[in-house]
């Protein structure tokens, strides 16, 4: 059921320190508690382009395989587009999939998906809340130009122990939390594992029943209250996907994060948060068949030290400022072969850089009607040796190379202004405007439609300039029916510099001269978003509609003409409804409709080597067919037999009317008459039922 939300007004005209105790929200009072107060008032806040979602909301939205999923839920919001069918990849306001800063308790999560993206790495049991910023991004965030997805883990109950879990068709989950020292310290541990590979064991084929296919997640958090003014938090995440075919091939990948945060009240006006954060993403491949015996390993990791202050000393101002230094290190895939193997060992230079930033922002209530958040972030990125750095000609051929030792190779200094303003027309209406500039130094190289764990990452270098985005947006916000309904519309324009694409046939793996295969261009995205939410009553939910355009321009692609980005979608509609049928039964439905992705199809054909080949002209000049889908769910919560033990059954159908949405469209010779060519589509999922049993005590 979660926790009820507390709100309390504190007058900061004298020294006050209060402790709050959050209690488990009872179902009966939930209707009252989850009213307007659980959400920040969108009309009054100067922040725009931001959405906050609680785990309770995520758990109510029907999803694939019955697994509640944060990333799937935010894809239902305006301005956020999905990747492929079932993918947890997302694209914000026409930006790329690698331009989202995904933070789990402040730690960067590099690869937020499991199993080709059908699941995200975020087990919703362990999540407290999620904040998504699409525009007007506050100055304390930086490093990715499209959006910030800030996810916080649950802290654990300081009063009593609790156990919560679920058994589903695909995965099972278990969470335990409770006090370590009552009222002083608590912990939360949550795990999840899929068991698709159990079905493989049923196979008679020796190769298949010895194969592996699963993933797991482990989240843990603990806190310790040193005294009334100081609290320590330690949290971590570890997840892994494991695939294997017989004993000859194995492939695993996963993220690890760790955050140590010291929260301190220095005085009644100054609060401090000091964090030491680590995160990494690694993958390993092991091949052992015939004479092939080799392993491939790749790692990307960072250490991040952050000092953040909040100062409430000035009337009408809340000031936030701080500094952080992040060490980013990339060890690209290196191949390690056994002595008798038929392949050679290959090692590719490790790259590292320091991303340092100082920032300050001020939320200033200028008048009763007018308020703003203005801020500045100064970032410096230092590309560090050692390593060999190449220079390339316009065809991507290396024309020079230079060896560097442990020294500075290059510095990029950027100033990033941020501004978000709101003017309240009256109690229920406001208009807002925002501007932000953001710089990005870590770039993911994806040349497939679904991002793979094996995608290469690069940092800014002599050849790769930082990606820079400037975004302006304007919005109108209205609450009505006593904040029971929220309406908002935002219009935005985003300009993107130094975007990355590839030359034809780019060789992205184990290639020391990879940068020669990259192309650099620019992008622009613009659109308008509408969102209508209903937050109270038996019926809850929202309708969102986005009308948008996202384009790229590269001198060497498409004859230098602007072309649609792959994730460009003209129309994107989501309808989410949750209806409380009775005390025991809750129903949910989600409907999505969107224009198909932009895609490159052939505009002609020819023959070569006796087979039909396709002739391509404009980049992304075609569209996939329109996508639409309805998901349904019903949750039944029987009357508890024992006082403490509660359980519920969640039934769901993904793609309820069995729409054959195209996952892939390809072209081939007709089997009967090979002179004739035909297009065919592959649909991935039909209707998929799911059932999950959840319990809590």
């Amino acid at each position: 059921m979660g926790y009820s939300t507390l709100s309390s007004t504190v007058e900061l005209n004298k020294n006050v320190q209060r402790s709050f105790e959050i209690s488990n929200a009872e179902k009966e009072i939930e209707e009252i508690v989850v009213s307007a107060s659980s959400r920040p008032n969108q009309v009054r806040s100067p922040q725009m382009g931001a959405v906050k979602i609680t785990t309770e909301e995520i758990k109510k939205v029907p999803v694939i395989f019955g697994e509640p999923d944060i990333l799937k839920t935010i894809q239902l919001l305006p301005g956020v587009a999905t990747g492929n069918e079932g993918s947890s990849n997302f694209f914000v306001r026409g930006g790329g999939g690698d331009q989202n800063l995904i933070l789990l308790d402040e730690a960067i999560v590099y690869n937020a998906s499991h199993l080709l993206g059908f699941f995200s790495t975020f087990n919703s049991d362990a999540i407290k809340d999620v904040n998504l910023f699409k525009g007007g991004i506050p100055a304390q965030y930086g490093g990715r130009i499209s959006s910030v997805l800030d996810i916080n883990m649950l802290d654990g109950n300081k009063k009593e122990f609790g156990v919560e879990g679920g058994v589903g068709l695909i995965a099972s989950r278990l969470k335990i939390d409770g006090p370590i020292v009552k009222d002083k310290s608590s912990f939360m541990v949550s795990g999840r594992r899929t068991y698709a590979d159990l079905f493989l064991k049923l196979s008679n084929d020796e190769n298949i029943n010895q194969s592996k296919l699963y993933f797991y997640d482990l989240n843990a958090k603990m806190n310790y209250k040193i005294n009334d003014r100081n609290t320590l938090y330690l949290s971590g995440y570890f997840g892994k996907d494991d695939l294997g075919y017989s004993d000859r091939f194995s492939f695993d990948w996963g993220n690890a994060t760790a955050t140590l945060r010291w929260n301190s009240i220095l005085n009644e006006k100054l609060f401090s948060n000091t964090s030491l954060i680590y995160s990494d993403f690694t993958y390993n491949v092991r091949v052992n068949s015939n004479d092939n015996d080799f392993g491939i390993a790749s790692q990307i990791k960072n250490w991040n030290l952050k000092q953040d202050f909040t100062y409430y000393g000035l009337n009408r101002h809340s000031i936030r400022f701080g500094v952080n230094v992040l060490n980013q290190k990339i060890s690209p895939a290196s191949l390690n072969a056994a002595d008798n193997s038929t392949v050679n060992s290959i090692s590719v230079d490790t790259r590292q850089g320091y991303e340092s930033a100082i920032y300050a922002s001020d939320e200033w209530k200028v008048s009763d009607r007018f308020s703003m958040i203005y801020g500045l972030r100064l970032t410096n990125f230092t590309v560090m040796g050692p390593g060999t750095f190449y220079e390339f000609d316009s065809d991507g051929e290396a024309i020079g190379e230079k060896q560097y030792g442990r020294e500075v190779v290059k510095n990029y200094l950027n100033l990033e202004p941020r501004l978000s303003m709101s003017y309240q027309l009256n109690r229920n209406n406001s208009i807002k405007a925002s501007y932000n500039r953001i710089v990005q130094h870590l770039h993911q190289l994806t040349n497939t439609t679904s991002s793979l764990p094996t995608d290469q990452y690069v940092i800014s270098s002599m050849n790769i300039k930082p990606q820079i985005a400037d975004q302006v947006s304007l919005g109108y916000f209205q609450n009505f029916a006593n904040n029971g309904y929220e309406f908002s519309t935002e219009i935005y324009y985003k300009d993107m510099q130094n975007q990355i694409d590839f030359r034809n046939g780019a060789d992205l793996q184990a290639n020391n001269q990879l940068e020669g295969d990259l192309l650099f261009g620019k992008g622009r995205a613009y659109g308008i978003e509408w969102l209508l939410r209903k937050n109270r009553g038996k019926l809850n939910g929202w309708i969102s509609y986005t009308l948008a355009k996202s384009e790229r321009q590269f001198d060497q692609i498409n004859g230098g003409e602007w072309f649609n980005a792959r994730q460009d979608r003209t129309h994107d509609i989501s309808i989410v409804a949750m209806y409380e049928l009775s005390k025991r039964w809750t129903a949910g439905a989600t409907f999505v409709y969107n224009t198909g992705n932009a895609i490159t199809f052939p505009s002609g054909k020819y023959q070569l080597d006796g087979s039909t080949r396709f002739y391509y002209t404009e980049r992304n000049g075609y569209r996939m067919p329109d996508y639409h889908r309805l998901d349904l769910s019903v949750v039944y919560e029987p009357t508890p037999e024992k006082k403490r033990f509660r359980s519920s059954w969640a039934f769901g159908v993904y793609n309820a009317y069995n729409r054959r949405n195209a996952y892939i469209i390809d072209f081939r010779e007709n089997e009967v008459n090979p002179n004739i060519t035909e297009a065919y589509r592959i649909a991935l999922f039909g209707a998929i039922p799911s059932v999950t049993w959840n319990f809590k005590f």
Binding site: N344, G505, T600, S611
Partner: protein, 273 residues
């Protein structure tokens, strides 16, 4: 390498999820016609043919449009020019005088509608094969047959190999290109099958092994890695000037014949390649 994982993952998923496949209608634009030149010359005694065609619209009933009035010539190392004359029998341009020599440089010149298309390539030396064999593999309950080639890859230089396969007398079809990026200077085994997987235990298989240039490798490597999962499929990079599609290569080639009915199962080799 990447192809390796993605095909593995796809394979796995196709077994787990019964995905459905359906022929659909799509309206595709008609683009301006482009000239296509396929000049895969080699030192085999068989006829050397250069194909000159034009692209046709996707829904055209013809597979391509043959150009019959082009001027086609290849100039060799001592400025000796071979003229290739259109032969209706081959639907391409054939020369009687052309002969290819290893490590020599050749220039192709094709004139179509007064536009000149040119390319210059060197012929790589043959990399000799030590031994050949036949192999059967079981991958996810399916059986595949391969011809195998064992050889010493020359160290310190990039080498590129192309294999075309003819099964039971049917025309040769491209199978794959390989580079020595990951096994330079090693003792290497290439497994060569059929893209149509039509080799069985009674098949007679003829393999043409060619040592090709970097440009030819790149052309075929791009062609074979274009799949519906590519972010943006494109025409493979051609080494011919003036915007022609296709490629020009002069390679050292050898022909190998295999009779799978003589295949002796010494040990069952289940492998994953």
């Amino acid at each position: 390498m990447k192809r390796f994982y993605s095909s593995f993952l796809l394979l796995l998923f196709c077994h787990l999820l019964s995905s459905c496949e359906e022929v659909i209608d799509i309206n595709l634009n008609d683009a301006d016609q482009r000239v296509v030149i396929e000049a895969d010359l080699n030192n085999l005694p068989s006829a050397q043919v250069i194909y000159v065609t034009r692209t046709v619209p996707f829904n055209d009933a013809r597979p391509h449009e043959v150009v019959t009035d082009a001027v086609v010539e290849v100039t060799g190392p001592r400025n000796n020019t071979s003229n290739f004359i259109y032969s209706p029998e081959h639907q391409g341009y054939v020369s009687r005088s052309f002969s290819a020599r290893e490590n020599s440089t050749y220039t192709l010149r094709v004139i179509v509608d007064e536009k000149v298309y040119e390319s210059t390539e060197s012929m790589p030396a043959q990399v000799p094969v030590d031994s050949v064999g036949m192999l059967r593999e079981n991958i996810f309950n399916d059986t595949y047959y391969f011809a195998t080639f064992r050889f010493q890859d020359p160290a310190g230089v990039p080498n590129y190999y192309k294999y075309n396969v003819s099964v039971d007398g049917r025309p040769f079809k491209f199978f794959s290109v390989f580079s020595d990026k990951f096994n330079d200077g090693l003792y290497v085994t290439h497994q060569v099958g059929s893209v149509d997987n039509d080799i069985d235990i009674n098949s007679k298989v003829v393999v043409r092994r060619q040592s090709v240039s970097a440009a030819v490798f790149r052309y075929w490597d791009e062609l074979q890695s274009t799949n519906p999962g590519s972010a943006a499929p494109a025409n493979p990079t051609s080494n011919i000037s003036n915007g022609a599609l296709g490629y020009f290569g002069v390679s050292s080639a050898m022909i190998y014949e295999f009779d799978f009915s003589t295949y002796q199962e010494i040990s069952i080799q289940d492998t994953l390649q």
